[in-house]
Symmetry: C2
Subunit: 154 residues, 2 copies
Amino acid sequence: MKDNNDMPGHLARRFQQIAVAVFLAEVADAGFDLTPVQYAALATIKANPGLDQVTLAGLIAYDRTTITGVIDRLVQKGLAERRASSRDRRARELEITDEGRRTLRKITPAVESAQRILLRGLSTREGEELMRLLRKAIAAGNDLSRAPLRSPDV
Amino acid sequence: MKDNNDMPGHLARRFQQIAVAVFLAEVADAGFDLTPVQYAALATIKANPGLDQVTLAGLIAYDRTTITGVIDRLVQKGLAERRASSRDRRARELEITDEGRRTLRKITPAVESAQRILLRGLSTREGEELMRLLRKAIAAGNDLSRAPLRSPDV
DNA sequence: CGATATTGCTCAGTATGCTGACGATCAGTA
DNA sequence: TACTGATCGTCAGCATACTGAGCAATATCG
Protein backbone atom coordinates (compact mmCIF):
# COMPACT_ATOMS: atom_id res chain seq x y z
CA MET A 1 0.00 0.00 0.00
CA LYS A 2 1.40 3.30 -1.09
CA ASP A 3 2.07 5.87 1.56
CA ASN A 4 0.72 9.37 1.22
CA ASN A 5 4.29 10.58 1.09
CA ASP A 6 4.80 8.72 -2.17
CA MET A 7 1.93 10.55 -3.81
CA PRO A 8 2.98 13.73 -5.57
CA GLY A 9 -0.62 14.89 -5.40
CA HIS A 10 -0.62 14.68 -1.63
CA LEU A 11 2.73 16.46 -1.42
CA ALA A 12 1.36 19.18 -3.69
CA ARG A 13 -1.55 19.76 -1.36
CA ARG A 14 0.66 19.89 1.73
CA PHE A 15 3.17 22.24 0.15
CA GLN A 16 0.48 24.62 -0.98
CA GLN A 17 -1.19 24.46 2.43
CA ILE A 18 2.05 25.51 4.12
CA ALA A 19 2.75 28.16 1.50
CA VAL A 20 -0.58 29.88 2.17
CA ALA A 21 -0.16 29.70 5.94
CA VAL A 22 3.34 31.19 5.78
CA PHE A 23 2.24 33.94 3.41
CA LEU A 24 -0.71 34.98 5.56
CA ALA A 25 1.40 34.94 8.72
CA GLU A 26 4.18 37.07 7.27
CA VAL A 27 1.77 39.54 5.74
CA ALA A 28 -0.23 39.78 8.96
CA ASP A 29 2.98 40.43 10.89
CA ALA A 30 3.64 43.33 8.53
CA GLY A 31 0.22 44.70 9.44
CA PHE A 32 -1.65 43.85 6.25
CA ASP A 33 -4.59 41.68 5.38
CA LEU A 34 -4.05 40.31 1.89
CA THR A 35 -4.20 36.73 0.62
CA PRO A 36 -1.65 35.19 -1.76
CA VAL A 37 -4.28 35.21 -4.47
CA GLN A 38 -5.15 38.86 -3.92
CA TYR A 39 -1.48 39.81 -3.87
CA ALA A 40 -0.73 38.10 -7.18
CA ALA A 41 -3.76 39.69 -8.80
CA LEU A 42 -2.87 43.16 -7.53
CA ALA A 43 0.78 42.88 -8.60
CA THR A 44 -0.31 41.74 -12.06
CA ILE A 45 -2.77 44.60 -12.41
CA LYS A 46 -0.01 47.02 -11.52
CA ALA A 47 2.29 45.49 -14.15
CA ASN A 48 -0.44 45.52 -16.83
CA PRO A 49 -2.60 48.61 -16.33
CA GLY A 50 -5.99 48.53 -17.98
CA LEU A 51 -6.08 44.82 -18.62
CA ASP A 52 -9.41 43.00 -18.55
CA GLN A 53 -10.43 40.22 -16.18
CA VAL A 54 -9.96 37.29 -18.54
CA THR A 55 -6.45 38.44 -19.43
CA LEU A 56 -5.59 38.86 -15.78
CA ALA A 57 -6.93 35.41 -15.02
CA GLY A 58 -4.77 33.94 -17.79
CA LEU A 59 -1.62 35.63 -16.57
CA ILE A 60 -1.89 34.09 -13.11
CA ALA A 61 -3.83 30.93 -13.98
CA TYR A 62 -7.03 31.71 -12.14
CA ASP A 63 -10.42 30.57 -13.22
CA ARG A 64 -12.51 33.38 -14.67
CA THR A 65 -15.26 32.67 -12.17
CA THR A 66 -12.79 32.95 -9.31
CA ILE A 67 -11.29 36.23 -10.43
CA THR A 68 -14.64 37.99 -10.06
CA GLY A 69 -14.66 37.55 -6.30
CA VAL A 70 -10.97 38.32 -5.93
CA ILE A 71 -11.38 41.65 -7.72
CA ASP A 72 -14.54 42.37 -5.74
CA ARG A 73 -12.44 42.19 -2.59
CA LEU A 74 -9.57 44.25 -3.99
CA VAL A 75 -12.04 46.93 -5.03
CA GLN A 76 -13.79 46.80 -1.68
CA LYS A 77 -10.45 47.33 0.05
CA GLY A 78 -9.77 50.31 -2.19
CA LEU A 79 -6.70 48.73 -3.78
CA ALA A 80 -8.02 48.41 -7.34
CA GLU A 81 -10.67 49.88 -9.60
CA ARG A 82 -12.94 48.22 -12.12
CA ARG A 83 -14.28 50.35 -14.95
CA ALA A 84 -16.07 49.68 -18.20
CA SER A 85 -13.91 49.32 -21.27
CA SER A 86 -14.54 51.77 -24.06
CA ARG A 87 -13.55 49.38 -26.83
CA ASP A 88 -15.46 46.33 -25.63
CA ARG A 89 -18.57 46.86 -23.60
CA ARG A 90 -18.43 43.32 -22.25
CA ALA A 91 -15.01 43.87 -20.67
CA ARG A 92 -13.93 45.67 -17.52
CA GLU A 93 -10.61 47.46 -17.39
CA LEU A 94 -8.67 47.05 -14.17
CA GLU A 95 -6.45 49.67 -12.55
CA ILE A 96 -4.47 49.77 -9.36
CA THR A 97 -5.13 52.69 -7.01
CA ASP A 98 -2.54 54.78 -5.20
CA GLU A 99 -3.51 52.96 -2.06
CA GLY A 100 -2.94 49.67 -3.87
CA ARG A 101 0.49 50.84 -4.98
CA ARG A 102 1.40 51.84 -1.44
CA THR A 103 0.23 48.50 -0.10
CA LEU A 104 2.21 46.56 -2.68
CA ARG A 105 5.35 48.52 -1.88
CA LYS A 106 5.08 48.07 1.86
CA ILE A 107 4.11 44.42 1.67
CA THR A 108 6.95 43.27 -0.55
CA PRO A 109 9.43 42.42 2.22
CA ALA A 110 6.84 40.19 3.89
CA VAL A 111 6.11 38.42 0.61
CA GLU A 112 9.79 37.77 -0.02
CA SER A 113 10.25 36.62 3.52
CA ALA A 114 7.41 34.14 3.05
CA GLN A 115 9.12 32.63 0.01
CA ARG A 116 12.34 32.19 1.99
CA ILE A 117 10.55 30.57 4.92
CA LEU A 118 8.77 28.18 2.60
CA LEU A 119 12.14 26.85 1.43
CA ARG A 120 13.93 27.09 4.74
CA GLY A 121 14.41 23.33 4.98
CA LEU A 122 16.34 23.28 1.73
CA SER A 123 19.75 24.53 0.70
CA THR A 124 19.92 27.27 -1.89
CA ARG A 125 20.78 24.74 -4.53
CA GLU A 126 17.92 22.46 -3.49
CA GLY A 127 15.47 25.34 -3.45
CA GLU A 128 16.39 26.24 -7.00
CA GLU A 129 16.16 22.65 -8.09
CA LEU A 130 12.72 22.32 -6.51
CA MET A 131 11.52 25.39 -8.38
CA ARG A 132 12.98 24.13 -11.62
CA LEU A 133 11.25 20.77 -11.29
CA LEU A 134 7.96 22.37 -10.30
CA ARG A 135 8.11 24.70 -13.29
CA LYS A 136 8.80 21.75 -15.56
CA ALA A 137 6.00 19.59 -14.19
CA ILE A 138 3.60 22.53 -14.28
CA ALA A 139 4.47 23.37 -17.88
CA ALA A 140 3.75 19.80 -18.91
CA GLY A 141 0.40 19.82 -17.12
CA ASN A 142 -0.61 23.39 -17.85
CA ASP A 143 -3.54 22.51 -20.08
CA LEU A 144 -4.94 19.91 -17.71
CA SER A 145 -6.64 22.40 -15.44
CA ARG A 146 -9.59 24.58 -16.33
CA ALA A 147 -7.48 27.68 -15.68
CA PRO A 148 -4.22 27.28 -17.60
CA LEU A 149 -1.52 29.93 -17.63
CA ARG A 150 -1.65 32.06 -20.77
CA SER A 151 1.27 34.14 -21.84
CA PRO A 152 0.53 37.62 -23.14
CA ASP A 153 0.15 37.60 -26.91
CA VAL A 154 2.90 40.20 -27.26
CA MET B 1 10.45 42.76 -10.32
CA LYS B 2 10.19 39.12 -9.45
CA ASP B 3 8.25 36.95 -11.80
CA ASN B 4 5.54 34.66 -10.53
CA ASN B 5 7.63 31.76 -11.72
CA ASP B 6 10.32 32.67 -9.21
CA MET B 7 7.88 32.42 -6.32
CA PRO B 8 7.73 28.97 -4.77
CA GLY B 9 4.37 29.91 -3.30
CA HIS B 10 2.94 30.54 -6.74
CA LEU B 11 4.41 27.31 -8.09
CA ALA B 12 2.90 25.47 -5.14
CA ARG B 13 -0.54 26.79 -6.00
CA ARG B 14 -0.21 25.89 -9.68
CA PHE B 15 1.08 22.39 -9.00
CA GLN B 16 -1.73 21.67 -6.56
CA GLN B 17 -4.27 23.09 -8.99
CA ILE B 18 -3.10 20.72 -11.71
CA ALA B 19 -2.90 17.80 -9.29
CA VAL B 20 -6.55 18.18 -8.32
CA ALA B 21 -7.69 18.56 -11.92
CA VAL B 22 -5.80 15.46 -13.02
CA PHE B 23 -7.08 13.43 -10.10
CA LEU B 24 -10.70 14.35 -10.71
CA ALA B 25 -10.41 13.67 -14.44
CA GLU B 26 -8.85 10.24 -14.00
CA VAL B 27 -11.33 9.23 -11.32
CA ALA B 28 -14.26 10.47 -13.38
CA ASP B 29 -12.98 8.48 -16.36
CA ALA B 30 -13.04 5.40 -14.16
CA GLY B 31 -16.69 6.14 -13.39
CA PHE B 32 -16.31 7.44 -9.84
CA ASP B 33 -17.03 10.71 -8.12
CA LEU B 34 -14.47 11.15 -5.36
CA THR B 35 -12.20 14.09 -4.59
CA PRO B 36 -8.51 13.75 -3.68
CA VAL B 37 -9.35 14.78 -0.14
CA GLN B 38 -12.14 12.22 0.16
CA TYR B 39 -9.91 9.52 -1.28
CA ALA B 40 -7.10 10.17 1.20
CA ALA B 41 -9.54 10.19 4.10
CA LEU B 42 -11.19 6.96 3.01
CA ALA B 43 -7.88 5.18 2.44
CA THR B 44 -6.68 6.28 5.87
CA ILE B 45 -9.87 5.10 7.54
CA LYS B 46 -9.43 1.73 5.90
CA ALA B 47 -5.84 1.49 7.13
CA ASN B 48 -6.77 2.55 10.68
CA PRO B 49 -10.20 1.14 11.49
CA GLY B 50 -12.01 2.77 14.39
CA LEU B 51 -9.88 5.88 14.54
CA ASP B 52 -11.46 9.15 15.64
CA GLN B 53 -11.74 12.32 13.56
CA VAL B 54 -8.90 14.23 15.16
CA THR B 55 -6.51 11.35 14.66
CA LEU B 56 -7.59 10.99 11.05
CA ALA B 57 -7.10 14.72 10.49
CA GLY B 58 -3.59 14.48 11.93
CA LEU B 59 -2.63 11.55 9.72
CA ILE B 60 -3.44 13.42 6.53
CA ALA B 61 -2.86 16.99 7.73
CA TYR B 62 -6.42 18.23 7.45
CA ASP B 63 -7.92 20.85 9.68
CA ARG B 64 -10.35 19.44 12.21
CA THR B 65 -13.07 21.77 10.97
CA THR B 66 -12.54 20.56 7.42
CA ILE B 67 -12.67 16.88 8.23
CA THR B 68 -16.24 17.17 9.51
CA GLY B 69 -17.60 18.02 6.07
CA VAL B 70 -15.39 15.49 4.31
CA ILE B 71 -16.69 12.68 6.50
CA ASP B 72 -20.24 13.95 6.09
CA ARG B 73 -19.89 13.39 2.37
CA LEU B 74 -18.22 9.99 2.71
CA VAL B 75 -21.04 8.90 4.99
CA GLN B 76 -23.66 10.32 2.67
CA LYS B 77 -22.15 8.34 -0.20
CA GLY B 78 -22.28 5.20 1.91
CA LEU B 79 -18.51 4.73 1.88
CA ALA B 80 -17.86 5.26 5.59
CA GLU B 81 -19.67 5.12 8.91
CA ARG B 82 -19.46 7.41 11.92
CA ARG B 83 -20.41 5.96 15.27
CA ALA B 84 -20.07 7.07 18.86
CA SER B 85 -17.01 5.86 20.70
CA SER B 86 -17.60 3.76 23.77
CA ARG B 87 -14.46 4.90 25.56
CA ASP B 88 -14.81 8.63 24.93
CA ARG B 89 -18.26 10.00 24.43
CA ARG B 90 -16.88 13.11 22.74
CA ALA B 91 -15.23 11.09 19.99
CA ARG B 92 -16.63 9.41 16.87
CA GLU B 93 -15.16 6.17 15.62
CA LEU B 94 -14.81 5.90 11.86
CA GLU B 95 -15.21 2.74 9.81
CA ILE B 96 -15.10 1.99 6.12
CA THR B 97 -18.08 0.17 4.64
CA ASP B 98 -17.98 -2.74 2.20
CA GLU B 99 -19.05 -0.30 -0.46
CA GLY B 100 -16.16 1.94 0.54
CA ARG B 101 -13.75 -0.96 0.28
CA ARG B 102 -15.04 -1.85 -3.17
CA THR B 103 -14.74 1.75 -4.31
CA LEU B 104 -11.17 2.02 -3.04
CA ARG B 105 -10.18 -1.16 -4.80
CA LYS B 106 -11.70 -0.17 -8.13
CA ILE B 107 -10.44 3.38 -8.01
CA THR B 108 -6.81 2.58 -7.31
CA PRO B 109 -5.65 2.36 -10.95
CA ALA B 110 -7.10 5.79 -11.66
CA VAL B 111 -5.38 7.26 -8.62
CA GLU B 112 -2.03 5.80 -9.62
CA SER B 113 -2.53 6.98 -13.17
CA ALA B 114 -3.17 10.49 -11.88
CA GLN B 115 0.13 10.50 -10.01
CA ARG B 116 1.95 9.44 -13.18
CA ILE B 117 0.27 12.09 -15.30
CA LEU B 118 1.15 14.76 -12.76
CA LEU B 119 4.83 13.96 -13.24
CA ARG B 120 4.67 13.24 -16.94
CA GLY B 121 6.92 16.18 -17.81
CA LEU B 122 9.72 14.81 -15.66
CA SER B 123 12.05 11.86 -15.98
CA THR B 124 11.78 9.13 -13.37
CA ARG B 125 14.84 10.49 -11.64
CA GLU B 126 13.47 14.04 -11.70
CA GLY B 127 10.12 12.90 -10.37
CA GLU B 128 11.78 11.22 -7.44
CA GLU B 129 13.95 14.24 -6.79
CA LEU B 130 10.89 16.51 -6.85
CA MET B 131 9.15 14.32 -4.29
CA ARG B 132 12.26 14.22 -2.11
CA LEU B 133 12.57 18.00 -2.12
CA LEU B 134 8.87 18.50 -1.47
CA ARG B 135 9.00 16.08 1.46
CA LYS B 136 12.00 17.93 2.87
CA ALA B 137 10.46 21.39 2.50
CA ILE B 138 7.17 20.16 3.92
CA ALA B 139 8.86 18.55 6.92
CA ALA B 140 10.61 21.82 7.72
CA GLY B 141 7.37 23.77 7.47
CA ASN B 142 5.04 21.20 8.98
CA ASP B 143 4.23 23.20 12.08
CA LEU B 144 3.58 26.43 10.20
CA SER B 145 0.08 25.48 9.14
CA ARG B 146 -2.90 25.06 11.42
CA ALA B 147 -3.21 21.43 10.34
CA PRO B 148 0.22 19.81 10.71
CA LEU B 149 0.87 16.17 9.96
CA ARG B 150 0.94 14.04 13.08
CA SER B 151 2.48 10.62 13.11
CA PRO B 152 0.64 7.93 15.00
CA ASP B 153 1.92 7.71 18.58
CA VAL B 154 2.72 4.03 18.10
C1' DC C 1 -13.72 16.15 45.42
C1' DG C 2 -13.93 20.27 42.86
C1' DA C 3 -12.07 23.83 40.00
C1' DT C 4 -9.55 24.27 35.88
C1' DA C 5 -7.59 23.07 31.68
C1' DT C 6 -7.78 20.37 27.73
C1' DT C 7 -9.82 17.75 24.12
C1' DG C 8 -13.32 16.10 20.36
C1' DC C 9 -16.50 17.85 17.51
C1' DT C 10 -19.46 21.23 15.37
C1' DC C 11 -20.91 25.68 13.58
C1' DA C 12 -20.86 30.43 11.43
C1' DG C 13 -18.33 33.16 8.48
C1' DT C 14 -14.86 34.06 4.82
C1' DA C 15 -11.87 32.95 0.71
C1' DT C 16 -10.36 30.16 -2.95
C1' DG C 17 -11.47 26.93 -7.00
C1' DC C 18 -14.34 24.46 -9.76
C1' DT C 19 -18.86 23.06 -12.98
C1' DG C 20 -22.40 24.61 -15.56
C1' DA C 21 -25.39 28.09 -17.01
C1' DC C 22 -26.76 32.66 -18.48
C1' DG C 23 -27.17 37.51 -20.65
C1' DA C 24 -24.75 40.87 -23.19
C1' DT C 25 -21.71 41.78 -26.65
C1' DC C 26 -18.58 41.12 -30.34
C1' DA C 27 -16.63 38.87 -34.63
C1' DG C 28 -16.96 36.37 -38.77
C1' DT C 29 -19.59 34.89 -42.51
C1' DA C 30 -23.24 33.66 -45.71
C1' DT D 1 -27.30 42.65 -43.09
C1' DA D 2 -28.85 38.63 -40.53
C1' DC D 3 -27.10 34.49 -38.53
C1' DT D 4 -23.88 31.94 -35.97
C1' DG D 5 -20.44 31.26 -32.95
C1' DA D 6 -17.24 32.88 -29.69
C1' DT D 7 -16.08 35.78 -25.77
C1' DC D 8 -16.56 38.63 -21.19
C1' DG D 9 -18.43 38.77 -17.02
C1' DT D 10 -21.53 37.01 -13.53
C1' DC D 11 -24.22 33.78 -10.83
C1' DA D 12 -25.72 29.51 -8.25
C1' DG D 13 -24.03 25.52 -6.28
C1' DC D 14 -20.53 22.51 -4.36
C1' DA D 15 -15.98 21.21 -2.01
C1' DT D 16 -11.87 22.38 0.33
C1' DA D 17 -9.35 25.32 4.02
C1' DC D 18 -9.14 28.45 7.50
C1' DT D 19 -10.48 31.70 11.99
C1' DG D 20 -12.81 31.91 15.94
C1' DA D 21 -16.36 30.47 18.95
C1' DG D 22 -18.93 27.23 21.51
C1' DC D 23 -20.74 22.79 23.82
C1' DA D 24 -19.93 18.47 25.90
C1' DA D 25 -16.90 15.43 27.92
C1' DT D 26 -12.48 14.10 29.80
C1' DA D 27 -8.09 14.89 32.30
C1' DT D 28 -5.42 17.06 35.69
C1' DC D 29 -4.16 19.04 39.80
C1' DG D 30 -4.64 21.28 44.31
